[in-house]
C-alpha cells in the first residue's frame, strides 16, 4: 500500500475515533444532565404533593382508599397515589427513579418516574410522579444523526485533503526515485542536481543517493581505468614475446617439436591479445571514448559484413537471406556499429547447424526501426539468454577458440547507441536477435 494512502487512512481512522468518542460523550452527558434536571423537578413535585396531602381532592381520595391519578392535558406529567394493601410502619424517606413506558389515559409514553412510599393516617401509599422524556429521546436521536453526519462529512473531507496533502508532500520523494534511481542506468550519467524540497528527510535521501552514486561512479571510473591501463600495459610485453618467438622460428636448426611449441605459444599469445583487445574495447565504449558523428546506413553495414563472412557461411553451407526493406541510417560510430552487427551475425554463424539458415529482416513501426537476425542454430534456454551478455560466458560450440566476449561487446555498444536488444530463442531451434533503434539517434 502506498505511503500516501496509509497516511490518509491513518488520519481518517483517528478522526473517526475522536468524533465517535466525543459523540458518545455528548450523548451520555446529555442524558445525564436532562435526567438530572427532571429528577430535581420530580423531587420538588414530590415535596409539593406530600405537603398538600391533607387538602382538598387528594384527601378525599385517600380517605376512600382509591387510586388518585392526575395529569396535564398533554399527558407530559402524571401523578398517582396508590394505597398499598398492607401497612408498613417502617417506611423510609427513600425515593427511586425508573424509566418506564406507561399508559396514561389512552396515551402510551416513556416517563422518568419517581416512586416513593409514605405513610399517611395509618396507611401506606405509593406515590409515583412521572415526566415524559420523549423530548430528551428526541434530542438524543437528533444528536446521534448530527454526529453521524458530521462524522461522514469529516471523513470524506479529511480523506480527500489528506490524499491531496500527502501527494503534495511526497511529490519530491517520487521525483527523487524517478530521477535518481529509475532513470539512471549508468552511474556515469547520474544527475547530481538537487530535487527541490522543503522536507528535510527527502533532502537527506537525495543527498544520500547522490553521495552513494558518487562513490559508485568513482569505483566505476577506477575499474575502467584499471582495465584500460592494464590492457594497454600488457600489449607491449605480448608484442615483445610474440616478436621474439617469431625470430626464434627463423632459426633453421630448430627441431620440429620446438617449432610446433613456438607456434602453439604464438597462438596462445594471439588469444591473449584478442581478450585484452576485447576488454579494452568494452572499457573504451563504456567510458564514452568514441564519438557518434558518423551517419551509419544499417543496410550498407550488413552488406559489408555479409561479404566479409561469406566464406564462413559457405564453409558451413548456410543460406543467408537478406530481407532488408528500408534504407535507414543512424547517427553513431561506424566501426562500432560494424563490430556490433559483425558479432551478432558471427554468432549466428558460429552457433548455427550445418546447412542452416540466417535471415536478416527489418521493420519500421511508429518511427521505431528494428532489425532482426534469426538463425536456425543451437538456441538458448532462458537461463542462457540471461547470462549470454556476461563477460566470459560461452556455450558449447564446435569451435575451440571462443572468448565469450562477443556479446559483452554487443551489450556495451548497444548501450552506447541506445539500442535495445531482444533475444528470443528456443533450445535446438534457433535464436532471433532483435535490435531496436531508439529514435533519438535516428537520421533520415
Amino acid at each position: 500500500m502506498k505511503l500516501q494512502v496509509k497516511l490518509a487512512l491513518y488520519n481518517t481512522l483517528t478522526k473517526v475515533a475522536i468524533i465517535l468518542f466525543t459523540g458518545l460523550l455528548i450523548l451520555l452527558s446529555i442524558e445525564k444532565i436532562s435526567y438530572n434536571h427532571i429528577e430535581v423537578r420530580l423531587e420538588d413535585d414530590k415535596e409539593e404533593t406530600l405537603k398538600s396531602l391533607s387538602s382538598g381532592e387528594i384527601n378525599s381520595f385517600l380517605n376512600s382508599q382509591k387510586v388518585y391519578t392526575d395529569y396535564n392535558i398533554l399527558k407530559e406529567e402524571f401523578i398517582t397515589i396508590t394505597p398499598e394493601a398492607k401497612y408498613n410502619p417502617k417506611t423510609t424517606n427513600a425515593i427511586k427513579f425508573t424509566t418506564e413506558t406507561r399508559r396514561v389515559d389512552r396515551n402510551i409514553q416513556t416517563y422518568r418516574i419517581l416512586s416513593h412510599r409514605f405513610n399517611f393516617k395509618g396507611h401506606t401509599y405509593l406515590l409515583e410522579i412521572g415526566e415524559a422524556i420523549e423530548s430528551v429521546e428526541e434530542l438524543k436521536s437528533i444528536i446521534k444523526k448530527f454526529t453521524l453526519l458530521v462524522l461522514f462529512i469529516a471523513l470524506v473531507l479529511t480523506l480527500i485533503s489528506d490524499l491531496i496533502f500527502t501527494k503534495f508532500l511526497l511529490a519530491p520523494f517520487y521525483k527523487i526515485i524517478d530521477r535518481k534511481l529509475i532513470k539512471v542506468n549508468d552511474p556515469m550519467n547520474f544527475d547530481y542536481e538537487k530535487i527541490k524540497t522543503t522536507t528535510q528527510d527527502f533532502e537527506l535521501l537525495d543527498d544520500s543517493i547522490s553521495s552513494l552514486m558518487k562513490k559508485i561512479s568513482n569505483l566505476f571510473i577506477l575499474e575502467k581505468q584499471f582495465i584500460a591501463n592494464v590492457s594497454h600495459e600488457l600489449l607491449t610485453p605480448i608484442s615483445i614475446i610474440s616478436s621474439r618467438l617469431e625470430n626464434i622460428l627463423l632459426h633453421e636448426d630448430l627441431s620440429e617439436g620446438s617449432e610446433n611449441k613456438m607456434h602453439a605459444s604464438l597462438k596462445t599469445l594471439n588469444r591473449l591479445k584478442s581478450i585484452i583487445n576485447s576488454l579494452l574495447l568494452i572499457s573504451k565504449v563504456e567510458n564514452n571514448q568514441f564519438d557518434k558523428v558518423d551517419v551509419v546506413m544499417i543496410a550498407g553495414v550488413i552488406k559489408e559484413i555479409h561479404e566479409e563472412l561469406e566464406d564462413r557461411m559457405d564453409e558451413k553451407h548456410l543460406t543467408f537471406t537478406n530481407h532488408i526493406k528500408y534504407i535507414y541510417s543512424i547517427q553513431g560510430n561506424r566501426p562500432l556499429m560494424h563490430t556490433l552487427l559483425f558479432n551478432v551475425i558471427n554468432n549466428s554463424i558460429k552457433y548455427n547447424n550445418p546447412k542452416g539458415t540466417i535471415t536478416i529482416s527489418d521493420e519500421l513501426t511508429e518511427d521505431i526501426y528494428s532489425i532482426i537476425i534469426a538463425d536456425t542454430g543451437a538456441g538458448m534456454d532462458q537461463k542462457q539468454i540471461e547470462n549470454a551478455f556476461n563477460r566470459f560466458e560461452k556455450f558449447d560450440t564446435d569451435e575451440k577458440e571462443s572468448y565469450g566476449l562477443g556479446l559483452a561487446i554487443v551489450k556495451s555498444i548497444t548501450a552506447f547507441h541506445n539500442i535495445k536488444v531482444q533475444i528470443n530463442s528456443v533450445k535446438g531451434k534457433g535464436t532471433r536477435v532483435k535490435l531496436i533503434f531508439d529514435h533519438h539517434n535516428q537520421l533520415h
Partner: protein, 225 residues
C-alpha cells in the same frame, strides 16, 4: 633499405631489428623522441617505425616534424599499443603510411613494408617471379605464360602474403589476421582459411606442380623457394 625504429621498449626494438636485418634491411634505433629527431634530421630513411608513446613525448609530434621537412620520402609506419580507431585515423591523416597495433606479427610488418614500397615506387619490376608465376601486386593478379590465373581476392591475398614471407612457416592465425584483419572474436583457429588455401592450390596446380607450396601439419603453410 634502411629503417629507423623509434621504440622505447628495448626488447621489442631488438626483435624487430633482428627480424628486419635478417630480411636484409639496415636498422637503426632511437629510444626517445629527442634522439629520433636528431637521427631524422641527419639521415634519410626508407622506413621509420614509429611508436606513439615515447618517454619524452608523443610520436605524433615526430610525424609532424618529419612532414615539415622538405624532400623527405621516408615512409612512416606507426606502431602502437593504443590501437584506438581515432589514433589510426589521426595517424593516417597526418601522413603516416600505415598503422599497426601492438602486438603485431613481424611477418605482417614485413608485408606492410613491401606493400608500401610498391605503392611508393610503382615499379613494374616489382612483380615477383616464383616458379614461373608472376605476382603483380598493383593489379592483384597472378600470371602464368601471359595467362591470368583466376584467383579470388582472398586467394590472392593469401598467396601474396605467403610469397612475401617465403621460406617461413606462416600460421593459420597469422594468415587469418592478415587476410581478415584484426577482427575481434573471429575464430582464428577455425580451418576456414584452409578452404581458401585448398582452392588456391587447386587453381595453381592446374598450371604447374606445386610441391613447393607446403602444408605444415597443425600449424599453417610455407612457400619454399
Amino acid at each position: 633499405m634502411n629503417v629507423l625504429i623509434v621504440e622505447d621498449e628495448k626488447g621489442l626494438a631488438l626483435e624487430i631489428d633482428e627480424f628486419l636485418s635478417h630480411e636484409g634491411f639496415t636498422v637503426e634505433h632511437a629510444r626517445t623522441k629527442k634522439s629520433a629527431e636528431e637521427k631524422i634530421f641527419v639521415n634519410n630513411y626508407d622506413f621509420i617505425l614509429l611508436d606513439l608513446g615515447l618517454p619524452d613525448g608523443d610520436g605524433f609530434d615526430l610525424l609532424k616534424m618529419l612532414k615539415g621537412l622538405d624532400k623527405r620520402e621516408d615512409a612512416v609506419i606507426i606502431l602502437t599499443a593504443r590501437g584506438a580507431v581515432d589514433d589510426r585515423i589521426m595517424g593516417l591523416e597526418q601522413g603516416a603510411d600505415d598503422y599497426l597495433a601492438k602486438p603485431f606479427s613481424l611477418s605482417e610488418l614485413l608485408a606492410r613494408m613491401h606493400a608500401i614500397t610498391r605503392r611508393k615506387h610503382r615499379l613494374e619490376s616489382n612483380d615477383i617471379n616464383i616458379k614461373g608465376l608472376r605476382v603483380n601486386i598493383q593489379n592483384r593478379t597472378v600470371i602464368y605464360n601471359d595467362e591470368r590465373i583466376n584467383l579470388t581476392k582472398k586467394e590472392f591475398e593469401i598467396f601474396n602474403y605467403l610469397v612475401l614471407n617465403k621460406n617461413r612457416v606462416i600460421s593459420r592465425t597469422n594468415l587469418t589476421e592478415h587476410v581478415w584483419g584484426d577482427v575481434l572474436e573471429i575464430n582464428s583457429d577455425s580451418n576456414f582459411v584452409d578452404v581458401h588455401v585448398k582452392n588456391l592450390r587447386k587453381k595453381l596446380s592446374q598450371y604447374i606442380p606445386i610441391d613447393w607450396f607446403e602444408t605444415v601439419r597443425s600449424i599453417g603453410y610455407r612457400i619454399n623457394i
